[in-house]
């Protein structure tokens, strides 16, 4: 069972629908203690980074403990930014810190492209990760965001906007994140979520 964490950052209907379409059962934990039966944790989110303040230290502890015990974690959009140490959008609001670095506002580059970055953009040379397996060299996925995380060792795919390169996907062990919206990214997005579910199922089978 996938725990879909609802901390009030936007609407979860589309994410829930995509997981259900792929045959996964999803529930919404009311408290960190409710994570116990989860085979994986998904932290979605849209809007302002400050919304992640609702993910209290107790949530941090429970989610980190789950990772340590072999339970995969997937952050989507603001949920991926939350995997970093924090974001300049809400400097007083700590991220989970499983990926190093701070998220910062996109600049639009020297040609001053519009920020937010909205629409379909390509994943450049995606690393051969669990999450991105089976995607072509230049898969397009749907983004809508103004902040993004830096490219580093955890980066699984890079996207370019206005000459600026940011992490479109991260994967470090069981901690995974997607800056774009897989639930809105048509076949490419469903492939990625399917890869995630496959990995979750394989780990759950091993732990039984």
């Amino acid at each position: 069972m996938i725990a879909l964490v609802d901390y009030g950052a936007g609407n979860l209907t589309s994410v829930r629908k995509a997981f259900s379409h792929l045959g996964a059962s999803v529930y919404t934990p009311a408290s960190p203690a409710d994570l116990a039966p989860a085979t994986a944790v998904v932290v979605p989110g849209v809007g302002h980074f400050s919304a992640t303040r609702s993910l209290t230290p107790e949530w941090h502890t429970a989610i980190r403990a789950g990772l340590a015990a072999g339970r995969p974690l997937l952050g989507i959009c603001v949920g991926m930014q939350w995997l970093y140490e924090g974001s300049t959008e809400a400097p007083d609001c700590p991220g989970l810190g499983v990926v190093p670095g701070q998220c910062t506002r996109l600049t639009g580059g020297p040609t001053r492209l519009k920020v937010p970055h909205v629409g379909w953009n390509t994943l450049e040379a995606p690393k051969d990760s669990h999450l991105l397996r089976g995607l072509g060299g230049h898969s397009s996925v749907y983004f809508t965001h103004s902040f993004a995380g830096p490219v580093n060792a955890a980066t699984a795919a890079v996207t370019e906007y206005g000459g600026e390169r940011f992490a479109a996907a991260v994967e470090d062990g069981l901690a995974m994140g997607l800056q774009f919206h897989p639930e809105k990214s048509s076949d490419a997005g469903l492939t990625i979520l399917g890869n995630f579910l496959e990995r979750v199922a394989a780990l759950a089978a091993v732990s039984r």
């Binding site: 609407n11 849209v46 909205v118 629409g119 379909w120 390509t122 749907y142 809508t144």
Partner: protein, 251 residues
């Protein structure tokens, strides 16, 4: 590279897709779910459902239609038409809309833009502007193009952005349904005035009209209805044409 988006609009009345010319004379174009499936297969980037008569008839956009269209669709879906308040917006969001499009309600109560942006995020709030040329400026109309709003389109787009809108859907009333091309001048005037994406709408008749609106019109996305509904032109064909003209698209 960020692709220019091609958006299909389903103008829906009584659960059926209809399309008029200059907002009048609606004729039926079929079942919204069937059309949505076809567009998805053809590679449409996004869908908009507009309840074209909702504002006039004081009805809420049909949650059932939205749910049916959204059920097997994994691309962004926007819904507009008759969204008067936060409850109306909640109903379509719960039915599966990723974005709500506000038009008359935003003009009547601009604070609604901010309230919805706070609740769902700016990415979920589109302000739709219907405008026509009047002398040297672009006049905004509400209530399906029937009522002058005494506002300038460029000014209103700027205000909508500052109030939290995530995108502008700009429709030329003069060009709507005429297939005589987008109003590129108006689109460029609005698109260069704001830092949020502008979706151009109204007048698509040929593939070259899209080339024009993405170049001289400075549009971030282009929306069309009749050009696609009657299978006159395919989404794939359009995108191949755009790519040949060096316009980035998702293929």
């Amino acid at each position: 590279m960020l692709a220019k988006r091609i958006i299909a609009c389903l103008d829906v009345r009584d659960g059926q897709v209809v399309k008029g010319v200059k907002f009048e004379g609606l004729r039926s174009a079929g079942d919204p779910s069937a059309l949505a499936r076809r567009y998805n297969v053809e590679g449409i980037d996004e869908l908009v459902i507009l309840d074209v008569t909702a504002t006039l008839e004081k009805r809420l956009a049909m949650a059932r239609t939205v749910r049916a269209v959204a059920s097997e669709l994994f691309i962004p879906l926007s819904v507009g038409g008759g969204i008067r308040d936060a409850d109306d917006a909640a109903a379509v969001v719960e039915a599966g809309a990723d974005k709500v499009s506000l038009n008359s309600a935003a003009l009547a109560d601009p604070g609604l833009i901010t309230r919805l942006a706070t609740q769902y995020g700016s990415q979920a709030v589109i302000v739709a502007i219907d405008a026509k040329r009047e002398g040297d400026h672009y006049a905004v109309y509400s209530r399906s193009g029937t009522t002058a709003a005494a506002r300038d389109a460029v000014e209103w787009a700027r205000e909508a952005e500052s109030r939290g809108a995530g995108e502008i859907l700009l429709t030329s009333i003069d060009r709507d349904g005429t297939k005589s091309g987008f109003d590129c001048e108006m689109t460029a005037a609005v698109s260069t005035a704001v830092n949020i994406p502008v979706i151009a709408s109204g007048g698509a008749g040929s593939f070259d009209d899209f080339v024009d609106v993405f170049t001289t019109g400075r549009a971030d996305a282009a929306l069309a209805a009749s050009i696609f509904h009657y299978s006159e032109k395919s989404v794939t064909g359009l995108k191949e044409h755009l790519r040949r003209h060096a316009i980035p698209v998702r293929l």
